[in-house]
Symmetry: C2
Subunit: 340 residues, 2 copies
């Protein structure tokens, strides 16, 4: 065989190899968002990612500044009939009750121990403050995370009869993964406890402890058997909700997000703050309009009113005005949970 | 030419290419810490990194958990005769003075405006609180970062006559880079302002805003011309010093560091907290014993006493007892600044 022929063969093999590799790559990454129905909502995500990753475009953003923030309850997992961490707190009250005989007659604990649903539905923020205070403090950070993990392993959602960590919205997991594949850092920004989410965030969302922004209790540095530990105190240090979400984002991340995802009034400022940046931005709100597969509540768009994850009509109007995308669970998601 | 000969030639070229690449790689990464003199201190760094990155060893740590925290003032840059951010605050007092005629007679501002060094040397923490309060608040986060950057561009160190950002310790930059090359996330954990360090951290240290843990003022979410902004309030939100460093590390990172670097009493708890973890850990303290090339202060080891970056003998004794490595600037660093 002549050299020319050999070189031709090599060139041909190279060509075939390249073609095969390209075909394979295409086959491997068909639709990054398979649980999303086709339509303008899904397109808004794809189009946003194209805009910030297209190096030749005017809205390109360097990977180091690609930040996306996700509210948790009602945005990445189920929050009805009650926030998961509130469920955890109620269970902890039952566990701790033997050590607190005074709770039998003392509100709000009396209502919890007596399973008085009517009274519990009327709990004020101050009541919840007391409940969270006694159930979430008095232990080290490590002990609290372990306790949270153990509870999550055994607790079951009253309707779905599954662990809460299986009630993650598959479409949102796909968005998180899709954004990370495109160089984004994804953060959970929750009004609930930072340490609670850190107990499972990496496993459930692929979000590392340093990428969880949330509310927190003060901690105290002290020594146990000569070893330093951080003890949780029954004292709120930071409230990461409403304006606190924008404040928390700056405090913990120090950069303005390019994309933010929420579902209730507590997320308004996070989305406003995100939208106030220049260039391409993506602000999305999950609307719970699927009572069949999940829950239906607003009161936006005439949906039933709720105290858990309220999405008001005013917020819905603001979303429209400011170009935020409202996700209809019913119409935009062909699958809600991975196990469906 | 026969096919066999062609293949031989290809194999030979491949061999030469591989050899050249390997030689180049070796030539490219000779000593990751060239500014460190040979000896047990330098070896402690190299040995620590080997231990946590050796997959077959008992102290291997996955990259996601490789966290290293660095104090800033006196550890990664010069802090004498006065902390850089205090210098910034003093300059700001002069700038703001025309708007505050009352400062001419009001302590501690009077002493600053009159350049009364004796009075300034006696400033209490409360005095500094007042000074930092008025000079570091009342503007948005963005305005404050810009103001910090502009000051750093024009300010000069009184002795070295160079920008403060050129007074970074080259050996510590090498350690940071070496750790990052080995999969570590490097954090600045400073008793000074988180936002101040964020203004230059990426450029100077290669440390992104989300990897700066520091003291902070409260911020307020408000609207300017309909756009949301975060305004800095004259109210301390978090004091990231002493026990605050361990608390801040958990708050912002949520993981225990594998390595921590400090130089003064404010770093004690950070090093203790780091050392209390299992496996391989590296705790290092910079001792300023080089009055010729930098400054000499302690009062550890009989060095002159100071109120700026105090390293007590008690801390030095604790370091010895707990296996922390004390770095002698004089003996362990053959170069202190990049421009030497």
């Amino acid at each position: 065989m002549k050299l020319r022929n050999v070189l031709r063969k090599i060139a041909l093999l190279f060509f075939i190899g390249t073609f095969a590799a390209l075909a394979l790559a295409q086959a491997k990454s068909p639709d990054p968002l398979p649980s999303w129905n086709e339509g303008p909502v899904k397109q808004s995500i794809l189009s946003f990612v194209r805009k910030v990753t297209d190096k030749s475009g005017p809205t390109y953003v360097a990977p180091k500044d690609r930040i996306a923030t996700f509210d948790q309850d009602g945005t990445t997992w189920v929050e009805h009939p009650l926030y998961t961490q509130a469920m955890f707190a109620l269970d902890r009250v039952h566990e701790l009750a033997p050590k607190h005989p005074e709770w039998k007659t003392e509100p709000p604990f009396k209502a919890i121990l007596g399973n008085d649903r009517e009274a519990m539905a009327k709990f004020t923020d101050a009541d919840w403050g007391k409940i969270i205070g006694v159930t979430h403090s008095g232990m080290t950070i490590e002990a609290f995370r372990k306790m949270s993990q153990e509870w999550l392993a055994r607790a079951r959602h009253p309707r779905f009869k599954r662990p809460y960590t299986e009630l993650i919205y598959q479409p949102m997991l796909e968005v998180m993964q899709y954004l990370r594949t495109n160089g984004f850092k994804t953060y959970i920004v929750t009004g609930f406890g930072q340490e609670f989410v850190r107990a499972y965030g990496e496993q459930v969302y692929g979000v590392a402890p340093e990428q969880v922004v949330g509310s927190s209790f003060a901690t105290k540095y002290e020594y146990q058997d000569g070893k330093p530990v951080l003890m949780r105190l029954p004292k709120v240090f930071f409230n990461d909700n409403f304006a606190g979400k924008a404040i928390g984002i700056n405090l913990f991340i120090g950069k303005r997000p390019l994309a933010a995802f929420g579902n209730s009034t507590g997320d308004r400022q996070m989305l406003e703050y995100t939208g106030a940046g220049g260039g391409a931005r993506l602000m999305m709100m999950v609307l719970h309009d699927d009572g069949k597969r999940e829950y239906a509540y607003g009161p936006a768009q005439g949906l039933p009113d709720t105290r858990v994850g309220t999405f008001t009509q005013a917020l819905c109007d603001q979303a429209k005005k400011q170009g935020w995308v409202v996700i209809s669970m019913k119409n935009d998601w062909n699958k809600i949970f991975a196990w469906e």
